[in-house]
Subunit: 340 residues, 2 copies
Amino acid sequence: MSEKIGEQSIKFSEPPYIIGAASICGPKEAEGPLARYFDILSEDPTFGKNSWEEGESEMVRQAVLLAIQKANKRKEDIRYIFAGDLLGQLIASTFGVKDMDIPVFGLYGACSTCGESLSLAAMTVAAGYADHVVAATSSHYGSAEKQFRFPLEYGNQRPLSTTWTVTGSGAFVISNQIPDNEGEVCITGITTGKIVDYGVKDSLNMGACMAPAAADVIYQNLTDFKIKPGYYDRIITGDLGKVGKRILLDLLDSNHVDISKEHMDCGIEIFYNKEQDTHSGGSGCGCSAITLAGYILKQMYQGDWKRVLFVPTGALLSTVSFNEGQNIPGIAHAVMLERR
Amino acid sequence: MSEKIGEQSIKFSEPPYIIGAASICGPKEAEGPLARYFDILSEDPTFGKNSWEEGESEMVRQAVLLAIQKANKRKEDIRYIFAGDLLGQLIASTFGVKDMDIPVFGLYGACSTCGESLSLAAMTVAAGYADHVVAATSSHYGSAEKQFRFPLEYGNQRPLSTTWTVTGSGAFVISNQIPDNEGEVCITGITTGKIVDYGVKDSLNMGACMAPAAADVIYQNLTDFKIKPGYYDRIITGDLGKVGKRILLDLLDSNHVDISKEHMDCGIEIFYNKEQDTHSGGSGCGCSAITLAGYILKQMYQGDWKRVLFVPTGALLSTVSFNEGQNIPGIAHAVMLERR
């Protein structure tokens, strides 16, 4: 029987495995430092479709199907899809998975959605509700800028605190079977985040909005499981960027927790930030998802890292709430990955 | 151990109970036929706040706190909130629950979200991941029209196939404890819906978009559990309205399933459709949520109904997907309620 641990965590008695993972990305990511780890690299930001939104759905579709294929499963073997994206009413996910004939749970946790989907997928498999499920998330620079900020054609200036939304989709098959492919990585536990609101209102400084939530859930994970940061080889946040990373380390330090040796941020890794002009780093659901599916799992399969705390981070805003003067609260969900 | 049943269902070996339920509604619902069943009726459509969106968040906040109170629990007893609404990036739920200091799973299933949140809440409790969790959903006429259609000030004509988005929020405490209040209603099983796309493109005829998904999940529930419609005292869809109801009954009839005796639709019940000029009926996440929290549970507590299949129905669109010419697919999730 899986256990409730501490205040916000679950420890799985029979940890579900990631038996398939796939990543797809756009042209800018394909020129970044992690490019060689991604499965599908597209030179076309609309992925052969008519709009960014349709292109984002196409990424989701391809990532999900490839993850299932890499898991040596068929579509019919998948009992549920847990999917979400950044767009209003989740249209990227909806149109990406609608023809797959698989029951769907739609999720929204802003850029923390990859953590939310992996958490619910693992909970579902560990409870015996399904043998194999898919967790999928996506983001797209064009559709996200249109959704949250300005039309790209307007060419607004980007302050140095901004991050660049990653065009990409990552999908994972979570299963109660031991994988027969390159490595055995399982989800041993999760810590589900609360919404944390520090009163930040700047939608061009998402790192500052999300860092307090990341600090909160990382601290809670260490507390619930009674472990130190050194338990993990890496503690990897989703898309805090350089500004958010600094805040995260400071906040944890003020609670006497030092994760500076273990910390890595997908947003900082995914672009050559200076050369690619991405300022504080990459962001979006796709940022943490493809970094996990491509780079992080590879390091674990190779044996370089045994334990990773994966912490996608989300900023909870819409244009409506932003224009009405609301704050931008953050949320982050922690997923404990372990190579067996 | 809970069981996977058939292709899309779960049967809970220890069914979680609904130990607290609360409903809050706006002025139009307060003049409808179900008004006496709702807990909080407001004459102010902004619920004392500055905007429809803030008002919707206020409804969520009040509904969640009241449900917890009616369950004789404290906020600290709740391990997770499963919440969603219709607005882009779930701002109604986010700002409604952000100060509660409870871990949050954000969900989106359009107007099927009440079924999605109850399903995941029941799965979580039945698996032993939590003792008590909250499922909450909301919708608001003003915020939804602004989000999906025209500014209210524009005064567009509403064809007879339109439904009227309910201003309301319903919240439920799902628990592994037998309730000590008015009655014992539990969730014995769920059937999770697939996205069903019949190619409908009319955002002013949501019933037609959603009815195929409702037919699909009801048929699957009956098939997975090997039961006939008469097993239930009522099969209750969320917000098909009059147009959608006709399509639902026809579609099931063509599969040789007749639910005409058991079927009820929350959208048809919630307004005096002729007198209140709501055309095909009510709709929105709040429609099924407050009808369940208020009217349906009351009938079950009183002993009038023993078994209910509760099937909230959702239309998956955004203004972006709609304006780009996409179809409006539907989804529906079925929750099996039983009085013990």
